[in-house]
Each structure stands twice: as structure tokens, then as C-alpha cells.
Symmetry: C2
Subunit: 381 residues, 2 copies
């Protein structure tokens, strides 16, 4: 019998219809619910984008105020949750803690989100608030510092910086942090979003679905590139070293982190915005080393690739690590920040999945042995 | 443009090749790695089946001894893990705790399983031991009892009963518990196993992949049927009530829990074995009420269905809840017991996935709006 063919990794297979995210990789365009990422970053808070992702429309002032208040009301973490964050071994990865913490918090929320076909969590982004507080708490504890309770008068991004620093960031930094979260809030089907949908389709809870998605994002084939970009420029060290380093990298076929993207064949629109943040913060703080190194890496890499007829552009990860570094954030939490932001998109996909649900249950193609005779243990080789 | 068609829930779509589980739904046959479930239950311990699932072959005596010792060495839980179990709200569901706990333990294991394409966890079933201890610890704490540390001289199933009861079960009960775990250890592609593979394919850790799978199994469309069977017979109350209850259920098109199976069109081979355990334990303990009720429900249901030309058989969940009840186990942990058993299968699938890995990344078919003009917040309706 001829062997059946199939698409490994479900590549090219359509898993569901979606109205959330539109990506035009050739033109370098990204829209959430029909709105361009450029408009959303320029004009909306992260909370406003969260509302858009849950309701499919931009809120008016009263709707946004109500929604923001609900989100901010759930920023604080119960003491037993803080205790499990505190007890988590310092040298372990905060993504494992996030995956654990989000499932754990599920036991503590007042308004339990029960299994239900009609998932009624549309009026909340609690998980997004709580993941953010988990990341901040872990960061403080990992440095031997005390927990800083959240403030309700700050934007989502500014409050995150406040909970990590213990002091209020200036308006500029708070806004950039908020905008970085908007840039990462959603990006269509990918391994973690697909994971969230697969789990949600069993009618498991939103918390359990998001916890599972965090586990996926932890995978090195998925999250984590921005941390590696910083490691790369740390290894290069100085602008004068870039050409020689790049010659070696190209000849060794070593992957240059943060360059190119599976979907975008033009410039990643998020990378343009992120580069603007980096330029602004570098100049403001007078710390331009990383930015200069990145520009040089980009130039030298593209010169070599374009000679080969392969135009390649930086993606959002190329610049984001350096932005977070200038905001005083430790590399260990760059993937957790990605999870904080993307949890808004995961929730949107969970709701979409539930609105017309079907359990995901693809087939495995059995290629193993036929039935074997059983051998007692003492007769086995 | 004509709308693209696709298989909702990936129904009928092949996601991967697999050599682990062979199910012949028409004949009612189930094999793990080529060995029939009847042989495995009759002749093997759960640990032996675990070895088979990880190595693809049955162990000889020395191999099994080494493997069992490794599993038993990791039964105990670190104090901070016990503390997070203790602090988990008593009225919350232990599946959420399991999902959380497995990701949390990842921070505590000595031999960290790092991200790696070559997943080197083949010589362990640590997660299986640890999930089991988590379930036992939660059960004790939820009753206000103290933690009972594991014993190394007992089989996997007997130790589980010991950790819950605080006293050693008789050999018979220990063996039945062990065999129940073997019956549920693996069942091909399904939502939770698929979740484990999707997460593992990102090169996330085994712990994070299993934690995500627990989240999937928690969904009411997936796990939890055996608990509902017991609720059903509790509602019926007495054998004399069954015919009238069944008439109502059939006329109201109400689902009769534990009857029929998506895959098996003949008798679920696991149900036959499970019925044997139930018969044995019922007679031994002189508590035959549940068994008699189940037999009556089966008879009355099938009589009505077969008149309609629909032969339907009980599945494994139809009998398992009553078996667990006779073993003194509370209904709240029936789905967690499923997770304990299936974690062996999940690990097997994680290893298989990693041996020829490709990130799962199906496509979403965008059916949302085109780009919209942005409206400032004060102009929105």
C-alpha cells in the first residue's frame, strides 16, 4: 500500500477561520481587527488595544474607562500566589513560573470562569493584568527585593515599570513600554496561539488555555529571539568588529539573530516602530552603543545577503531587546514580556475559537508494528 | 473569490506519523507499541508499560529494576511544592493545580531537562511520579489531612493508594490501581496528546508540554466522563428506576454518559477489563449497588438503541468511576487519575515528536475586515 502523504507540522493546512489579525507579508502590513499597527501604536493605549481584540471594535471613552478599571482592579496578586513566586528557585526560568502561576491563579479568582461553551470572559483582561504582575514580582524577588504592589493610576506599561523599579517611570518611558506591548499583542496563528486554541476547544478554562500557550512560547523555536540578539551584539562588542564578525558568520552559515521573518518578506512593520523607540531612548539617555551596533550589523548583513539576491530585513526582535535594556529590564524577562503582551491576543483567539467551537483532533498515521506476541519478562533479551 | 474549504477541528487531517498506539475501532483492539492492552494489563506493571512507551520495547528484569528505581526515587515532592499544593483553595479543581504544579516542579528538579532537539528524558518518568504525588497530596490536604511521604517498596498504583490512605492497600487493590493506570496510559492522538506534541515541537521542556496537556484534559469535551457516569447513577438511584429514567433520557435526547466512543464501534477493549475489576471489587467488598445499576443502565440503553439499529457499547469511563469509588477515591480526582496515567503516553509522544521535529504552525484563514480608517476616541459612537 502506498504511504499516505501529509503536511509535516501542519504546514499550509488551514486550522480555522479568523477575523483577528491580517498580515500582508509582501507589503509588510499588520492589522488587528482591521486597524493598522501604526495607527494603534500611535493613538491607543495597550488597554484600548485589548478592548479592540476582545470586542472587535475600538471603545468609546466610557467603554474604555470601564474596561481599564476592571483590568486595573485585578492587578494585585493574592499572598499565596506571591509566596509561590517567592519560593520559585532563582536560577529557574520565569516562563516556567508564568505557566505555573497562571494556572494557579485560576484557583484564586473571585469570579470563577467556569467551563462553558459561551465563554463569558469578554469583559476582562484579568489574565493579562495578572501575568504582568507575576513577571514584575518574579523580577523583584529574583533580585532579593520586596514585592511592589501595583498602582491603579498608571497605564498598563507604566505600572509594569513601576512594579519592577519601585519608582514611577517618566511619562515617556511608560508610554514606550505600553506601546511595545501593543506591538506584540497579536500576530495571527503561531505555535502558542494555536496551543491556546487547541486547549480552549476542549472547553478548558481561559486560564488553563493561556497557561498552556505560555508553555509553547517558552520553546526556543518560538519565543526568545530578542534575548539572543543582545547576546550576539554583546559577543561582537564594537562597531569596528562587525564586518569581520559578519564575514565569519556568513561563511559559517551561522544564523544572524533578528534578521528575516517567516512571514514578512518586506520590512516587519513592528521593527520600524521599535527602531524609532530605540533611537529616541538611546539619544535621550546618551547610551547609543547598542543602537549603533545594531545598525552596523543590519547594514553589513544586508550588504552580504543582497549580493546573493536575498533581501532580508530586521524583524521586531532585532530592536526590542535593546529597547528593554534601555528601560532597565533584565534579559531574563524579555520572553515573559512577550507573553504579557501576547496574552491579549491569546484571549481574543480563545473567544473566537469558542464562538464556533470544534475540538481539535487531527489523526496520527500509524506506522508502527503489527500485533506482537507477548514475552514474559524472564524470556526477554 | 470562492471561499477556501478546510477541515474544522482538523478532523481527518493527518498531523504526524506515529508508532506508539494502534487502535482498531471496528474490531475493538488497542495496542501500545505492538502489544495488546489485554496482555499488558495481565502481565505488566504500570512501570513496565512506562518503559515500553518510552523505549518501544519491553524491558528485561535488570532494565525494569533500574527504571523502576529511578521512577521511585523521584516520588517525593520538595517542601515549597507541597506548600503551593497546601495553599491552593480547597474548592478549586485539582486539574488546575496539576497543570500549575507540573510547570512549577520544573524549577525544582536536579537534572534540569534543558531545551534540546534531542530530548534526553527517555530514561525517566519523573513527571509521572510527580503528578501522582501531587494528586495524592492535594487529596490529603483537601480533607485537612497531612502529607504522607511516598514509599519506594510499593508499585506505582499501590503507592498512590498508600499516599492517599496513609495505610498500605492490600495486594489486590494495589494491583488493580496499577492496572487501571495501564489501561489509560495511552490512546493515540487526542486533544491533550496533540497539545503535548504542539508544545514539545517548539522545543519547550517536557514538564511544560505535560503541564499544557493537563490543561487540555481538563476540558469538559475531553476528560471527566467517568465522574459524570457516577453522577448519573447517583441520580437514578435504584435498579427499579432505570427503565423509566432511560425512557425519559432517550425521549429528551439526553446523552447517556459512558456509552459509545468516537473511535470504537465495537466494545472498547478497556471497558471489558475495567468491568472485570468492578465485578471483582464489588463482590469482594459486598458493595454491588453501583455495578448492578451500571449493568441495568447498559442493558436498558442498548435495548433502546438497538431497536433503532444503533449498537452502542460502554466505554472505559462507564466502569472506571465505580472502580475508583470502591478503591475509596473521591470523584474530584478521577480526571487527575486519568492525567497521572496518560502522562506516560504524553511523554512517549513528546519523545516521538522530538525525534523528527517540525514546529506545528497551521494557517488561519483570514475572513475579517479590510483596513479601516482610524477614528480618534472622542469620535467613536
Amino acid at each position: 500500500m502506498e504511504k499516505q502523504s501529509f503536511a509535516k507540522g501542519l504546514e499550509g493546512v488551514i486550522a480555522a477561520e479568523t477575523s483577528i489579525c491580517r498580515i500582508d507579508g509582501l507589503k509588510g502590513e499588520l492589522c488587528y481587527m482591521g486597524y493598522s499597527i501604526e495607527d494603534l501604536v500611535a493613538h491607543c493605549s495597550f488597554e484600548e488595544v485589548g478592548f479592540l481584540l476582545l470586542y472587535g471594535k475600538l471603545p468609546n471613552r466610557a467603554e474604555l474607562d470601564r474596561f481599564s478599571k476592571k483590568m486595573r482592579d485585578t492587578r494585585d496578586l493574592p499572598e499565596p500566589v506571591l509566596e509561590m513566586v517567592r519560593s520559585f528557585p532563582k536560577d529557574s526560568h520565569p516562563m516556567e513560573l508564568l505557566q505555573s502561576g497562571i494556572a494557579y491563579i485560576s484557583g484564586y479568582i473571585k469570579h470563577k470562569i467556569h467551563h462553558s461553551d459561551k465563554c463569558n470572559c469578554r469583559n476582562t483582561l484579568h489574565q493579562v493584568s495578572q501575568i504582568t504582575s507575576l513577571v514584575a514580582a518574579w523580577t523583584r524577588f529574583s533580585r532579593g527585593q520586596e514585592y511592589v504592589p501595583p498602582r491603579q493610576d498608571l497605564s498598563h506599561g507604566a505600572n509594569f515599570l513601576y512594579m519592577i523599579r519601585g519608582s514611577e517611570p517618566d511619562a515617556d518611558e511608560g508610554e514606550i513600554m505600553d506601546q511595545c506591548l501593543t506591538l506584540h499583542a497579536e500576530h495571527g496563528f503561531n505555535a502558542s496561539t494555536f496551543t491556546a486554541r487547541v486547549v480552549a476547544a476542549t472547553l478548558s478554562t481561559c486560564y488553563c488555555s493561556i497557561s498552556a500557550a505560555v508553555g509553547s512560547l517558552y520553546g526556543t523555536l518560538h519565543g526568545g529571539a530578542n534575548e539572543k540578539v543582545l547576546e550576539m551584539i554583546g559577543e561582537i562588542g564594537a562597531v569596528s568588529e562587525v564586518p569581520a564578525w559578519m564575514d565569519r558568520a556568513v561563511s559559517e552559515k551561522r544564523k544572524v539573530m533578528g534578521m528575516g521573518h517567516r512571514v514578512y518578506k518586506a520590512m516587519d512593520p513592528r521593527a520600524k516602530v521599535m527602531e524609532g523607540f530605540l533611537k529616541h531612548l538611546s539619544e535621550k539617555k546618551g547610551e547609543t552603543k547598542e543602537y549603533e551596533l545594531l545598525l552596523s550589523v543590519q547594514k553589513e548583513f544586508r550588504a552580504r545577503m543582497e549580493m546573493d539576491g536575498k533581501p532580508l530585513y530586521p524583524n521586531v526582535d532585532f530592536f526590542s531587546g535593546a529597547v528593554y535594556k534601555l528601560l532597565g529590564l533584565p534579559p531574563r524577562i524579555y520572553t515573559p514580556i512577550f507573553a504579557m503582551a501576547r496574552s491579549a491576543g491569546w484571549l481574543s483567539h480563545i473567544l473566537e475559537q469558542r464562538s464556533d467551537n470544534r475540538l481539535y483532533r487531527p489523526k496520527g498515521l500509524y506506522v508502527g508494528p503489527d500485533v506482537k506476541a507477548f514475552l514474559p519478562i524472564d524470556k526477554r533479551g
